[in-house]
């Protein structure tokens, strides 16, 4: 399969538009507020689409389809009990404090509410995390495009090997994202995220259409695949009766409560989009508007996995079988990789590209590839804008240069953009050398993040919580997460990155179950320790906490808004529709 002129044209038109948006916006980017906060001037619908687009990176597109193929429709739990309730909560209850306080970032809220050390802990770990996760996703995407071998031809004609596809992929995407974020800051990132959102939908909908048609619709898929793949709740009673190896309690508490609320309610990458809104009510509507397309995303990102499992195909020898997912190849020998039982292993990460190459003729193939590239860029730009803001406001201004001019901080933001992207590229190459180091880093970040939601919950809704309590809670929650990980192992894994490095006391039926329970232990420890230490330390006077804590803040008034613009109405609609989806795909 080779690309033709029209595919290339589509890809380059896209590059032209994202850079063009950056150039046009440069004129409007005059102050640091324009650059880091998009001037706090965005309408809710734009923030809402950027809110989900920044999260819709390559890892989500590749990973959710891979899980869809492995675990089936139960992967939708990441949306229907994971993301959506958390997005409703952040919009209704937490946005008043993020948007209403003077904070310009999530770590800065922690300083206003608690103290400097809590902010420092969060700012530094978050800055490192964004750089590394952007590097990891860069690596994953470039590797994927290299494996596809569709860009090989032009490189071959220049006498360059397939390795160069990887290098050029990383350099070009880094330069384009650098270009538009450098020029227009957060406004440019948000505008392009909206553009990328529509592009991703436009590239994937025809793929779903063709795939579903081939598989005989949803009913065809249900007849072909085992019921375990086409039901989201049936079998969740016990870990042994579902493919994820988790029971309903661990699923709802671990994924639905701790992990999802921890991500959607405290991660500055997404919260920054809502904080760019032009009013309090727009900021509160942002996650609610985002939740509406988000709840339908399983159609776009999970369903491809099921389609790839269900459609009829022919292998190289011409024998018929079902499923399009290619086998894992051992890179050194070029042979198919086998697991411990001698069965060939599937490379689930190739689900989406395999579908693209199978169904898309030249022309629309260019659009599909552009959608893949767009998802990758939106995720990367999300990381970069969150990084440059936290670096400039919460590290540089806080600890390095306190009283510089606004123009200086604007300049520093642009420098941080260059530095952040350079560091991500570096991280991507580290990943090519030491796969394990990246796994370990991701694990450490998971430990740091898991307890965070307990800190915010207590900070926003319990005025007695103190800075010492929050800090001790975070540190002990992180310790609890690493202890739990060190003492448990998922079944069939060796001691090491997967856990058990302190001795395996308990074995989980799956890695996912272990992750969810690590999060539950971390959250609970942070919650309890924060309360205990707070009770023993001196609380701050009420007047200092106005606007930062629920009981000391005026409720936002929604009565003046039209009924369909009120956050509570939108929240009821979103939750009702999500419940319905859970029931339909029970």
């Amino acid at each position: 399969m080779n690309l033709t002129f029209i595919d290339w044209l589509i890809i380059f038109v896209y590059f032209g538009f994202v850079l063009g948006v950056g150039f046009v916006l440069k004129r409007y980017t005059k102050t640091s507020k324009d650059f880091f906060q998009a001037g706090r001037s965005m309408p809710a619908w734009i923030c809402g689409l950027a809110f989900i687009s920044a999260n819709l990176g390559a890892q989500e597109i590749i990973g959710m389809a891979a899980s869809g193929a492995k675990y089936g429709i139960a992967t939708s739990h990441f949306y229907w009990i994971g993301a959506i309730p958390a997005m409703v909560f952040v919009g209704l209850f937490m946005m008043p404090f993020y948007y209403g306080s003077r904070a310009r970032s999530v770590p800065e809220y922690l300083r206003l509410r608690f103290d400097e050390k809590t902010r420092g802990f969060n700012a530094i770990s978050f800055a490192l995390m964004t750089v590394f996760s952007s590097g990891i996703s860069m690596y994953a995407m470039a590797k994927l495009i290299q494996i596809l071998h569709i860009f090989d031809a032009p490189f071959r004609s220049m006498g360059l090997g397939p390795d160069y596809v990887f290098h050029v992929c990383i350099v070009i995407s880094a330069l384009i994202v650098l270009g538009y974020v450098f020029l227009g800051g957060l406004t440019s990132a948000i505008y392009n995220e909206v553009l990328q959102f529509f592009l991703i939908v436009a590239g994937f909908v025809p793929l779903i259409f063709l795939g579903l048609k081939h598989a005989g619709g949803w009913n065809g898929i249900r007849q072909t695949l085992s019921p375990a793949l086409t039901h989201s709740w049936q079998g969740m009673g016990s870990p042994s009766t579902n493919l994820m190896g988790i029971e309903a309690f661990g699923l709802v508490m671990g994924l639905g409560f701790v992990l999802s609320f921890g991500y959607w309610c405290t991660d500055f990458l997404v919260v920054q989009r809502a904080m760019a809104a032009n009013s309090m009510s727009a900021a509160r509507r942002t996650p609610l508007i985002a939740a509406m397309p988000k709840m339908l995303f399983p159609i776009l990102v999970v369903l491809p996995g099921l389609i790839a499992m269900a459609v009829p195909a022919r292998d190289a020898a011409g024998s018929r079988h079902t499923g399009l997912i290619p086998y894992k190849i051992v890179e050194a020998t070029g042979e198919i990789k086998h697991d411990q039982n001698g069965k060939p292993e599937f490379d689930y990460d190739l689900t989406v590209p395999a579908l693209l190459l199978n169904y898309f003729p030249t022309g629309i193939l260019g659009l599909g590839l552009t959608a893949l590239i767009a998802s990758f860029m939106s995720g990367m730009a999300g990381n970069v804008t969150a990084f440059n803001t936290v670096w400039t406001y919460d590290i540089y201004q806080a600890y390095i240069r306190k009283d510089a001019s606004d123009a200086h901080y604007l300049w520093m933001g642009r420098m941080a953009t260059i530095f952040g992207i350079a560091a991500s590229v570096f991280a991507a190459y580290v990943a090519t050398q030491f796969n394990n180091i990246m796994d370990i880093l991701q694990l450490v970040f998971a430990f740091v993040n898991a307890p965070l939601f307990a800190t915010f919950l207590l900070g926003m809704f319990w005025k007695r919580a103190t800075g010492h309590g929050a800090f001790m809670g975070l540190v002990s929650g992180t310790l609890a997460a690493s202890l739990h990980h060190g003492l448990t192992l998922p079944i069939g894994s060796g001691v090491g990155v997967k856990g058990g490095w302190l001795g395996a006391l308990h074995t989980y039926p799956s890695e996912m179950a272990q992750n969810f329970w690590t999060a539950i232990y971390a959250w609970t420890t942070c919650f309890v320790v924060t309360i205990l230490v707070s009770a023993l330390t001196k609380p701050r006077p009420d007047r200092e906490l106005t606007g930062l804590v629920y009981s000391l803040t005026d409720r936002p008034k929604d009565e003046t808004l039209a009924w369909y613009l009120r956050p509570a109405t939108l929240a009821c609609f979103v939750l009702g529709a999500t419940l319905l989806l859970n029931i339909i795909f029970y």
Partner: protein, 66 residues
């Protein structure tokens, strides 16, 4: 903000739509074997043109900047 984002997005989809639909009109039938015999370029290109018209219309309404 001086730029209504619906305009560049609309313009981009207009270009994509015209490219795909145009290619769909003139391309050989054998190209569409993999898409189950459906001329997906023509169909999806036309739909994208329709979508771009809506965006361009929404973005260019006078005095209605939100």
């Amino acid at each position: 903000m001086g730029l209504d984002i619906r305009l560049p997005i609309g313009l981009m989809f207009a270009i994509f739509g015209v490219l795909l639909a145009g290619y769909g009109l003139f391309s050989d039938k054998s190209v569409y074997e993999r898409s189950l015999g459906i001329n997906i370029n023509l169909i999806w290109g036309t739909i994208l043109i329709g979508f771009s018209v809506i965006l361009l219309w929404l973005g260019s309404r006078k005095g209605h900047r939100d």
